[in-house]
């Protein structure tokens, strides 16, 4: 039998960033992972050969199932979603701007010049959200999964952003915001002995193609976020949506003390995948766009995903340091 821990990091030999993904039900977590894999396949097979990735054997069956559905124009179905719990992959990038990966790029793509990641979907968090909207504490099962994370991806479903009143403020995301804030504080409390350790919060505004235009108008934002290469304006745009919607979470992140686990400056990304108008009685279909002259791919912001991968590479550099 092939051991289901293909990478030495998974066997505890080297530090490997663990990225925990939390989100409310139907916030687009599985689609996000599927598109992340699609972006890796896209950049990992392009002519320039500047980006290489390797999916772990134990992850590939599930994630390629999601990929097949996305490439055929369908969203992941319930069975596919159930199967996807975590994915592990290793990546290497020859372009500049990838911290540990770039300064070793002269050595080419090799295990030494690459970094591995484990992305874990926190299904228990979703279950907890569904089960109890009243409880103020964090379930032990959720906490134990999140405890060893180096980064936490907080999915913010852009379709749930709403204006609070006529004055222009956005309404907080209520229970979801509280749950994430509770989780962050619980993680911080339980790791208060950690020295010089950082937890990197990453906000992903999912389904951004369906954000209510009125919401954007109220906070005086353009319809589309700035290009991801313009880091300052891109982050500022996202902050103006996330700060008022997730006030408790943002407060928890800012309240990091001087000792123990610290929260790093949050990173922000946008995700969407365009769809076609569904025919009556039919499921919603993804819009596929041309990839190159002949191929097809979902209509999604691949540059946002590449930037997300670069962000992970930076976290890997911190973890190894």
């Amino acid at each position: 039998m092939l051991r289901r821990e293909g990478y030495p990091e998974l066997r505890g030999r080297e530090p490997m960033p663990r990225v925990v993904i939390v989100g409310d039900q139907n916030s687009g977590k599985t689609t996000f992972l599927g598109l992340l894999y699609a972006a890796q396949v896209k950049f990992g097979s392009d002519k320039a050969d500047g980006f290489r990735f390797h999916a772990a054997f134990e992850s590939l069956d599930e994630i390629s199932g999601v990929f097949q559905r996305l490439m055929s124009g369908s969203f992941p179905d319930a069975a596919t979603k159930e199967g996807v719990r975590e994915i592990a992959f290793r990546l290497s990038h020859r372009r500049t701007g990838l911290g540990i990966l770039s300064h070793r790029r002269s050595r080419g793509s090799s295990p030494e010049s690459s970094a591995s990641f484990q992305l874990i979907l926190l299904k228990s968090f979703e279950d907890e959200m569904a089960r109890s909207r009243e409880r103020g504490s964090v379930d032990q099962r959720t906490l134990s999964s999140a405890l060893t994370g180096d980064a936490i991806v907080i999915m913010v479903d852009a379709t749930s952003l709403a204006a609070a009143d006529e004055e222009g403020e956005l309404a907080p995301l209520g229970k979801y915001d509280e749950a994430v804030a509770s989780l962050l504080m619980a993680v911080q409390r339980s790791r208060d002995q950690a020295q010089d350790k950082f937890l990197h919060p990453i906000f992903v505004l999912s389904k951004f193609d369906r954000v209510d235009p009125e919401v954007l108008r109220r906070v005086d934002l353009d319809a589309d976020p700035p290009d991801v290469s313009k880091k300052g304006p891109h982050a500022e745009y996202a902050k103006r949506l996330v700060d008022p919607s997730m006030p408790k979470t943002m407060a928890a992140i800012r309240s990091g003390g001087r000792r123990g686990l610290q929260f790093a400056t949050p990173s922000y990304f946008f995700s969407w995948v365009r769809t076609d108008e569904p025919a009556p009685g039919r499921d919603e279909r993804l819009r596929l766009r041309r990839r190159g002259a002949v191929g097809w791919e979902p209509d999604y912001p691949s540059d946002e995903y590449l930037a997300f991968l670069e962000c992970l590479a930076g976290i890997a550099a911190d973890t190894r340091a």
Partner: protein
Amino acid sequence: MPCALLGDRASGKTTFLGLLYSAQVKYGTGVQDDFRFHAPIQSLNIMSAVYEGMKDGRFPSATLKEEITELGFVFGYLRKVVGKLPYYIRQQNWVHPFSTLRFSAYDVSGEDIEEFIETGIASRPLIQQLLKSVVVCVLVDCSKMTTEIDTPAYKKMLRYDSTVAKLLVSFQTYKKQEYDRLKDSGVRADSPKIYPVFVLSKFDTLRDDVLARLGLHRGFPDNNRARKEYAEALLRVFVPQTLSQIRGGKVAGVSMDKSAYFLSWVRTETHEGMDPVGQSKIVRTGFAPEGGGEPDFSYDEYVNFIEHFRDIAHKIPDEILEAERFQAQVMARSA
């Protein structure tokens, strides 16, 4: 050393093997005598039956394909040093005159492989043999290269891409784990390497509009670099997961960078202005002193395919001997 030939159902595996048999019959009986071919009797019967049928202008029948449970053959290449020895010494078995590669064909939609992909358990002998392969030859069926996303061909290609990518990753994982095991036992070993080969099968059925959109001509270049670019332009579109995992092998510690690419086609009869009814008939070459009545196929590509493995065959036995020595050391240490 085991080599795997992977193909989907109806991807042209049997035809490929029949044509390979045809090519080796011609090439292996040349004056030089530096290449030899051997197949177990069951495989030989099938391959020669396919070959006979093709000489008669027919593609392999479904019944014949069903008979294939395990099909294998051996390529033998005369070792360079041995080639310089006098003929009578060269013929002695103790000289080990030929470096050999043992090929086995696998149907990736087969039950064994599907079960292995789902469970990761390599309990069946067929899978254990498959994972030990150092050469992986992937057949990519050009007749399924379509740009129409709602067709069964498009979906089949998507599924095939996923399956082959998963198999390649399992090869890499197996090799890496074996390597780590040796290293943990204090044995020095070279980083693992797999030699991938892609055969673009049924190339004559590839649609002109696909080639035109990719800016490719129908002729396959001779130059290795140009061949790689040509083939990768197609693979990038139709089997991107496979291509990305071949490249990604290196970051996981298993080099698969030395891919080689070949075409396979066999000319069929066409009747102007009419669609063929039933299976098309194979065009055969005319009779000539050097032989004739043969199927008109990409013979040069098959010769290139045979020759591609010469260096690999010469290199691999040393690696295997080393690996066997390592295994012996490991056993001795643990005893």
